[in-house]
Amino acid sequence: MNNRGPRYPGYNVLDKRDTPSWNEITRKVIDHRLTLDGPKFFTLEEWLTLRALCDCIVPQRSGRAPVQCAALVDHKMELDQRDGFRPPSLPSQREAWRRGIAAINEECRERYGGAFHELTGGQQDRLLRLLEEGEASSPAWGDMPAKVFFKRRLVHDIAAAYYALPHAWNEMGFGGPASPRGYVRLDFNKRDRWEAIEQHD
């Protein structure tokens, strides 16, 4: 684990919630996002796998990704909010996720004798690299290529959910919502009062 402190200590984008940086609809949608705690679409068993996958794809210093990350993936499936396209080798997103989680757990059982969330960190990491390299071998994958699922659904959906959370914006020093008030200072090393301050060591 990394022992460096946060890059933007003390910065919390939510502190701007009641300033001119946030309009009404922004407050509404972010407030709602922070109430999500899932699962509504996934079964409890699938949820355990998804949580463990989030911990691997977007690991935290504290060791656990915020619950809203998995919950936002679950929410996307619950509402079936699609991306607008899919590769010919994948079924639609709900089916892809259901089959993908089942196949991951099957692959884990065959190799390590337990479900994904029961494995050690090292085993989880090895398993994900194997999917990434296209070396999954469980028949549970059927005609769905594990490599495509890994890239297009697993990593993509989890990262897109995580980086839609204020928690992640704080880590990056992103300004967050900005309407009606945007920014005034645009030049190198210039910062408006309502932007994050970077820690220089």
Binding site: N2, W22, A160, E198
Partner: protein, 549 residues
């Protein structure tokens, strides 16, 4: 759900349409009955359809424009949030395959009244004049059946309508008047591009861009919030929804939101009778003297193919067999590097500076065509997609690199794509929510595209290094903007529409959108789509005066 949910209940009805410039506002709208034979039904209200709706209604034609997307009021409906704003994109399913399968949805397809321009990045460039005759003058591609000087006049008309902000003197191409509004202040990301160009001795300039640098009516100047491709909540962005369409309404056009056209109907004489469309839970039929399809490069051929009937078994206007073929997408590779300076590229529109050097220089290239490149400013969700996709990061390495967000800058091309017959839009067996077959898209780059990409990545890497960047990496696969699939030409055997935008096969069926591009050029397409729509409107007006419409 609240009663005023524009994604579920149409807003433009009963004699009024939303006033996009006022919270809760309305403007009067003329309405037509379904059995009233209007002069023009226009399918799609984006860069092509929105512009044409305005021009034709101002010329006195009766116009009904249909769009399956919602009618937004940006001031109240647009959140400062990438995730929420997915509601602007075409998220109905499409299948996308081939060696270089295209990313659709957010990347290139909108579904809103106002079309993809609602979330476009506002870069508004003219074609290099020679591109209209690239076969004759440059030795590749095909010629457009139009003259660049004619287009030059229409470009100006669009630039004035959008109050483009841009430089006094544009460094490339034939002289043009100064842009209507003064250029924007450059952000640090744009200055990185400038530094690189100056070090390498090539020209750069402030991007001609469709966001206000001074007030215009009720719209305020751009506040540099940087959410442009998630929709502009302040109306500083100038696009179809807040320029062409309000003019169209004023001139008597009717705009129907949440209205999906499923089929264009032919009569026994091979002429179009009108369109079948789905709105408020039922299928309806709007009669029309003429139909214009303006659904963009995937939906336009899809609709023509879905309209197959005994008189046209392979789809409407498809005697050439070319409907859905020669799909193009601009090469759009980015090169990214880290800087010691804080860049904070989330501020301001993403592409405030650019160079068209490699569009206007033909020496020193081992490929046909050209490219522009621009400064960048991705927001977190988009940036995470680049990091996990092209940069292949996840886990600890993803989080660590995402923390360098404020120190990154990047350069990205809009590179000319060679049209290939094997890049296609066809119908899949799968159906959408209206029961209509969805699009099956196939795309692969030509060898020429690959050479162009390699040249561009190499050059931009050197430019970023010269500007002080390190840890530089480049994207493998990335495309932007769709074009082609119903190409314009002067031979019915090798094109779908004639130089007036009229289909060769059906005299009262027209196409007016990005699908009629026979070549792509190395610049973003919307200015050319709008200019072509102005030109088609003038052609229609002239033909109507001779009773040929």
């Amino acid at each position: 759900m609240t009663e005023d949910d524009p994604t579920r209940v149409p807003r433009a009805k009963n004699g009024r349409a939303p006033d996009v410039l006022r919270v809760g506002g309305w403007v009067p709208m003329r309405c037509f009955a379904d059995d009233e034979q209007v002069d023009f039904v226009i399918v799609g209200t984006g860069a092509g359809g929105g512009t044409l709706s305005c021009k034709l209604s101002e010329y006195g034609f009766s116009v009904v424009a249909l769009d399956v997307g919602p009618y937004w009021r940006p001031l109240e409906d647009f959140a400062s949030d990438e995730h929420e704003q997915y509601k602007l994109y075409w998220t109905d399913e499409r299948i996308s395959g081939g060696e270089d399968a295209l990313e659709l949805g957010r990347n290139n397809s909108g579904q809103s009244v106002g079309g993809s321009m609602v979330h476009f990045a506002m870069v508004s460039l003219r074609f290099r004049p020679e591109w209209f005759k690239s076969r004759s003058l440059l030795g590749y591609g095909v010629d457009w059946p139009v003259d660049w000087r004619e287009m030059w006049g229409y470009y100006r008309e669009v630039e004035e309508n959008l109050c483009l902000a841009g430089p006094i003197k544009y460094p490339w191409g034939p002289p043009r008047p100064r842009y209507p509004y003064r250029p924007h202040e450059l952000n640090a990301a744009a200055k990185v591009l400038a530094r690189g160009c100056e070090k390498l001795g090539i020209k750069w300039c402030s991007t001609p861009i469709a966001t206000l640098s001074a007030p215009r009516g009720l719209a305020h100047p751009c506040v540099y919030r940087g959410f442009c491709i998630a929709g502009c909540s302040t109306n500083a962005k100038q696009s179809a929804i807040n320029t062409w369409l309000p003019r169209a309404l004023k001139a008597g056009a009717e705009i129907r939101d949440l209205a999906m056209v499923g089929r264009v109907e032919l009569d026994a004489n091979g002429r179009v009778r009108g369109v079948h469309y789905h709105r408020e839970g039922q299928w309806r039929f709007q009669r029309a003297r003429n139909v214009v399809v303006a659904g963009y490069a995937i939906e336009t051929p899809r609709l023509l193919l879905n309209s197959a009937c005994p008189q046209a078994p392979d789809g409407l206007a498809n005697s050439s067999g070319l409907v859905g073929k020669y799909l193009m997408a601009h090469c759009n590779q980015g090169v990214y590097g880290v800087f010691d300076d804080e860049i904070r590229w989330y501020k301001a529109p993403p592409s405030l500076s650019l160079t068209e050097h490699w569009n206007y220089t033909d020496e020193g290239k081992d490929f046909d065509g050209g490219y522009a490149y621009m400064s960048q400013g991705p927001l977190p969700v988009e940036w995470s997609g680049t990091q996990t996709g092209n940069h292949k990061l996840w886990g600890e390495s993803l989080l660590r690199d995402m923390e360098r967000y404020n120190h990154y800058a990047g350069l990205k091309i809009v590179g000319e794509c060679q049209a290939m017959e094997t890049n296609t839009v066809r119908l899949a067996d799968e159906k959408d929510r209206f029961g209509l077959p969805i699009a099956n898209v196939t795309f692969a780059h030509s060898d020429n595209d690959k050479k162009l990409i390699a040249h561009a990545k190499n050059f931009m890497r050197t430019a970023l290094e010269a500007a002080g960047g390190y840890d530089i990496w480049a994207e493998e696969t990335e495309t932007a903007h769709l074009m082609g699939t119903c190409r314009m030409g002067d031979d019915p055997r090798s094109s779908v529409v004639n130089p007036d935008g009229r289909t060769w096969d059906v005299p009262n069926l027209w196409i007016c959108d990005g699908s009629l591009f026979p070549t792509s050029g190395g610049v973003n397409p919307s200015l050319t789509i709008q200019a072509m729509a102005c030109r088609i409107a003038d052609r229609i007006k002239a033909l109507a005066a001779r009773a040929e419409v």
